[in-house]
Amino acid sequence: MGLAPTITIHVPGPLRAYCAGAAQISISAHTVRAALEDLERSQAAFYRNVCDETGTVRRHLNVFVNSDNVRDLDDGIDTTLMPGDVVTILPAVSGG
């Protein structure tokens, strides 16, 4: 496997306080899973908001690669990333 592509993580507003106010984080990762593992090491406080103790993306969050929700993609969390991809983490729509 070659050099990991550089991708951008878009940080939702409520979580920017957990990564020094950053709206975007640039990291290099081959897959979404690898990107999350990188966040676990480099942005631990932010990561804890995104994944639970077992490493699972929290139930009411959605992770998009560009415009695709990874839950809808064949490879799910193991979806391959390409240079320039934008990974967006968003709370699911809810009310009440």
Binding site: P14, R48, N49, T54, G55, A92, S94
Partner: protein, 370 residues
């Protein structure tokens, strides 16, 4: 000098703090803090300089513990919240109870899935308590409607009582190192065996520190008409122990329903106990007429306290931690409702007045004199 009443109000949309002079004529309200996030447990820690704690149970971003060191003018997250070890396989779903421990900084925290955590530094770091969290029964407990929650933590020296729904009452007599199910006399309505070793849906346990052998339990009642295996189980909902929780007996006779959630003990009289009986189907007061019921003889008889409360057409629920009593000489009761009303019952519940009528649904009320 203790001269203020402080109320922490955990709601569906954050925590509020209300404050009044001892006369309790007028309460000011601050908040909400932890905006928009449900708060199921709060703690007014009066050891040393008072600190307020609240669990902020974010369904999107996980659990947080909030702490205020300025009496509720502001809250900040502690450095970490309870979390299971990565290889445990369980993930924190909610924080249901926060209690003060020994010294000035020890805290205990009951969570969902039912487990216990301990902090020695005022909530900045947490350790799983294996004696109960990894108990041989732990993987056999099942969640009730509210989730598999550890909602009651009572400490009495080396003795510790835990209430779990649905798990039952667990007792430690070695400072929390080991626990055993202690449910003799505690019934269950949703299992063929009416008196199982564990697995009861305990709703709340209360005690009085001057009479530590005496405990009261609001259990999941409402099974008097059960016709399935094991037969009817009347009066299993309100119970009392006189032997430090080793055995329990019903004190539900005289109540309009043995179903309910909170149970509260008078701060100066271990024989005086308060419950709010609810219809088990609607989980609101029978007939739509809210009332707190009081016993002044340890549950041998009960009287209805409803002066000032709505007389009809009120169908709110009062949740397990949404009733408390202050420690003034003539104490006042407080309860919060799922309709966002906060009621005060002065003179020990003789006269009720609504303090706030448009809060978010209320999960938790704690009161202290500071």
């Amino acid at each position: 000098m203790a001269d203020r009443i402080i109320l922490t109000i955990g709601t569906k949309k954050g925590v509020f703090v209300a404050e009044a002079a001892k006369a309790r004529r007028s309460f000011s309200l601050h908040g909400p803090f932890g905006l928009g996030i449900p708060v199921y447990s709060t703690l007014i820690d009066t050891r040393g300089t008072p600190r307020l704690y609240a669990s902020s149970c974010n369904p999107f971003f996980g659990m947080k513990v909030l702490r205020s060191t300025d009496m509720g003018k502001s809250f900040k997250e502690t450095k970490s919240a309870p979390a299971f070890p990565k290889d445990d396989g369980r993930a924190l779903a909610n924080i249901w109870s926060l209690e003060a421990g020994g010294g000035k900084k020890e805290l205990w925290c009951g969570v969902e899935p039912a487990s216990l955590f301990r902090s020695r530094d005022g909530g900045d770091s947490w350790d799983l308590v294996p004696g109960i969290s990894n108990h041989e029964h732990a993987r056999k407990w099942h969640p009730g409607n509210g989730g598999l929650c550890m909602h009651t933590i009572i400490r009495d020296g080396n003795r510790m009582h835990l209430g779990i729904s649905t798990g039952g009452h667990y007792l430690s007599e070695d400072g929390g190192e080991t626990f055993r199910a202690s449910n003799q006399g505690v019934g269950a309505g949703f299992a063929p065996d009416p008196y199982p070793e564990f697995g009861q849906c305990v709703h709340k346990i209360a005690w009085h520190d001057d009479a530590p052998g005496r405990l009261y339990m609001q259990n999941h009642g409402g099974w008097s008409d059960w016709t399935g295996p094991g037969g009817p189980r009347p009066d299993i909902g309100v119970l009392r122990s006189d032997d430090y929780g080793h055995s329990w007996r019903s004190i539900a006779k005289g109540l309009p329903s043995d179903f309910g959630f909170p149970i509260v003990v008078h701060p100066h009289d271990a024989d005086t106990v308060y419950v709010m009986p609810l219809d088990p189907m609607t989980r609101s007061c029978p007939g739509g007429a809210p009332a707190v019921w009081r016993s002044e003889n340890g549950g041998n008889s009960w009287s209805r306290l409803a002066h000032g409360l709505p007389k009809k057409q009120s169908y709110f629920t009062v949740q397990r931690d949404a009733m408390d009593i202050d420690r003034l000489k003539t104490p006042a009761l407080y309860f919060g409702t799922t309709t966002g009303h906060l009621w005060i019952g002065k003179e020990g519940g003789e006269q009720w007045n609504c303090l706030f009528d448009s809060l978010p649904p209320i999960h938790n009320i704690k009161v202290a004199v500071v």
